[in-house]
């Protein structure tokens, strides 16, 4: 039996597809989600309306969504930076935890210092911890050719256990000694809290601006520098890169470290801008790292678009978790995120191919 459709390679890729594909993907994912909802006896219109209302309608909703969007912008950049070189770093989750651990440690230690100093120190500590943690993956990949997908994922589980150890199963520096019965992280110094800026009633976290700066920096790095050019060559053809004398191993390690640093910065933002302490359960339940992959894929690995998409997915995620209850079952958020990733990856083929209907050739006539 012949399949009813056939794919034909596009000779040139029209520009308008670059923004049309993510939009089409998003709409397609919502339609598929509606089918899941209908099949399980829920009213999709009602569900989507409430997500929109809670995530995007009004200044309060938007302020809340930006809180979720900010870490997602960082983990999205983390995924995009590595994926662009063909390195599948799915360890953004663990790298973000490690960044949060580093930033919280600095935030607690620098009690009494001026805010500016603490904010910068927390950012640097978060980036450093995230970068070092991701560098493990990079070194193993560069030196031993170990599959980075699995190692980066295993490190997520290890980081999660480490986080539980720090807050729940030990009397570590990060744990609030006052919390005996309900273990919690130790709050960072009051003056270490990061600012919010208000525009037209919407509270925009400082870290969101840092995310925009990071996105621009990554964009410039990849488009305008020698390093970015080399990354592009390695992504297209590792063999050609070797012949051209590009040091593939050190580039692998550097790209993963950069990727981890971005996720770590997200962890620092979570501690400094939002929770003011190392919140083990809170981080583990948010799953920013995994959602970041969805963000990066939908943004087609473009750093600037990643920040925009982070706001969209952030709103959806924020609303989904906020609405959770009897008639809004948990699990819906992940289901929708997964569907978006399906349609995003399927959307890629629309860039490469044209879909054509296979005409049936009746052999009798042909003969």
């Amino acid at each position: 039996m012949k399949s009813p459709i056939r794919l034909e390679r596009r000779l040139e890729q029209p520009k308008w597809l670059n923004w049309a594909i993510p939009l089409i993907s998003l709409v397609a994912a919502l339609i598929l989600g509606a089918i899941v909802l209908l099949a399980t006896g829920k009213n999709p219109w009602d569900v989507y309306f409430r997500i929109f209302e809670r995530g995007f309608a009004g200044t309060r909703a938007l302020s809340g969504s930006l809180k979720t969007a900010t870490p997602l912008a960082f983990t999205g950049l983390c995924a995009a930076v590595a994926f662009r070189m063909g390195l599948i770093n799915i360890g953004g989750e663990g790298q973000l935890y490690m960044g949060a651990v580093g930033a919280a440690g600095v935030g607690i230690a620098l009690d009494g210092q001026p805010t500016g100093v603490v904010v910068v120190a927390m950012c640097l500590a978060g980036m450093l911890c995230g970068a070092l943690y991701a560098a493990i993956v990079g070194v193993l990949r560069a030196k031993f050719n170990t599959n980075e997908i699995i190692t980066s994922l295993m490190l997520n589980y290890i980081a999660s256990i480490f986080l539980s150890y720090l807050i729940y199963n030990s009397t570590s520096y990060w744990r609030d000694p006052v919390s005996k019965n309900f273990p919690a992280g130790k709050p960072i110094a009051d003056r270490a809290e990061w600012n919010f800026f208000e525009f037209a009633g919407i509270k925009i976290p400082l870290a969101f601006f840092i995310a925009i700066i990071a996105a621009v920096a990554v964009s410039v790095l990849y488009k305008r520098t020698r390093f970015g050019f080399e990354v592009g060559v390695i992504a297209d053809s590792p063999k050609a890169a070797r012949y051209a004398g590009i040091r593939t191993s050190s580039t692998i390690i550097l790209v993963l470290a950069l990727s981890g640093a971005l996720a770590g910065l997200g962890g620092a933002a979570d501690v400094g801008n939002f929770r003011q302490l190392l919140d083990g359960k809170g981080l583990q339940m948010s799953g920013y790292g995994y959602t970041g992959i969805v963000v990066a894929a939908l943004a087609r690995l473009n750093p600037i678009t990643t920040v925009v998409v982070a706001v969209l997915i952030g709103g959806l995620t924020n609303a989904g978790f906020a609405l959770q209850g009897p008639d809004f079952p948990s699990g819906l958020v992940g289901t929708l995120q997964g569907l978006i990733l399906f349609t995003a990856v399927a959307g890629e083929i629309l860039i490469k191919y044209r879909i054509k209907a296979n005409r049936r050739v009746t052999t009798a006539v042909a003969a």
């Binding site: 006896g41 699990g331 819906l332 992940g334 995120q337």
Partner: protein, 319 residues
């Protein structure tokens, strides 16, 4: 500490290793056909929640209910993987991202949790479970009793499957053709083998086996439904395929090694050994990295490497 504790560790290594082996065996079939399934974790969870639902709702004798739970878990896993096959084989998408999409879609905060909620699976216990058997009444025999004669039915099935799948892959014509599809789809295609059909069938088969692994979690190990209960077992299974060099027999040994690591915590704690639970919890994940590094050496790859076309969508040259 005496020889007793060693026997308990071996017996529980086999128990905990069983779902790992089912999922990894599924991975072998899928990857041998040239498709990389990174959605094993999500596939296992959907199998697990469907199996738990069946255990709560299918009537009849206990054996029938358990059998139906396994079958329904397989169907759920098969459907999940059919989705992956559609993306990877028909639409020729990036297999890595497609697999991740399956895991996010079906995973701990995805569809498996959604189903558990709307079906009320988590609120109730799983009444009919996969229990350890007392084969030939020999379970109390010293040493071999707990290790060999006191396992679940699925463990015995897995031993039979290990043998059958080795024969299938290396001693039958279809197995040879399957390997050809994974090594060089162009050649296979030229020989008149349908690459698409082989990839679909073995990806779906792989998902069904991962589904059994999930059912083992919800009906035997825990045994009740908890969101995200496989806790990374699907990912360890993917790594096991690599440790086992795409061979069922070696993978079975690897599964028991990791089964031992997973069960070590509860075994030692029950024995009153004082050791940090966190370190034991992290052990399987650390070991996965260590062993992966060991097997990714160049020598091992040349001798026993991955199917050459693994992860590469097959495109027939257009005429």
């Amino acid at each position: 500490m005496n020889s007793n504790i060693l026997i308990i560790i071996i017996a529980s290594a086999i128990f905990y290793g069983t779902p790992l082996f089912f999922a990894a065996l599924g991975g072998i079939f899928t990857e041998r056909s040239g498709v990389l399934n990174l959605g094993v974790e999500g596939t296992m969870l959907l199998g697990g929640v469907s199996g738990a639902w069946a255990s709560q709702h299918v009537g009849g004798s206990a054996w029938f209910t358990v059998l139906m739970s396994i079958v329904i878990g397989m169907i759920a896993g098969g459907i999940t993987s059919a989705l992956l096959a559609f993306l990877c084989v028909t639409l020729k998408t990036n297999q890595t991202v497609a697999g991740l999409a399956i895991t996010i879609f079906a995973g701990a905060v995805g569809l498996s949790s959604y189903f558990a909620n709307i079906w009320g699976v988590a609120e109730n216990p799983v009444p009919r479970q996969i229990r350890r058997l007392d084969v030939f009444g020999l379970a109390d025999t010293p040493i071999v009793g707990p290790i060999i004669f006191n396992q679940t039915i699925l463990t015995y099935v897995s031993w039979v499957l290990a043998v059958l799948s080795t024969v299938y892959l290396f001693r039958t014509r279809i197995g040879l053709q399957l390997r050809a599809v994974g090594e060089s789809p162009q050649t296979a295609d030229a020989m008149g083998i349908s690459v698409v059909k082989y990839r679909y069938v073995h990806t779906i088969l792989g998902g069904a086996l991962a589904g059994i692994g999930g059912v083992f979690y919800s009906l035997a190990i825990v045994p009740t439904w908890v969101d995200g209960m496989t806790k990374g077992a699907g990912w360890i299974a993917i790594a096991l395929v690599i440790f086992g060099f795409w061979r069922p027999s070696l993978t079975l040994l690897g599964a028991y090694l990791f089964g031992a690591l997973q069960s070590l915590g509860s075994t030692l704690k029950a024995r009153g050994v004082n050791i940090s639970g966190d370190i034991l919890d992290a052990l399987p994940f650390v070991m996965t990295i260590v062993v992966l590094v060991l097997v990714s050496s160049r020598f091992a790859h040349r001798k026993l490497g991955a199917p050459a076309a693994l992860g590469v969508p097959y495109e027939r040259e257009e005429r």
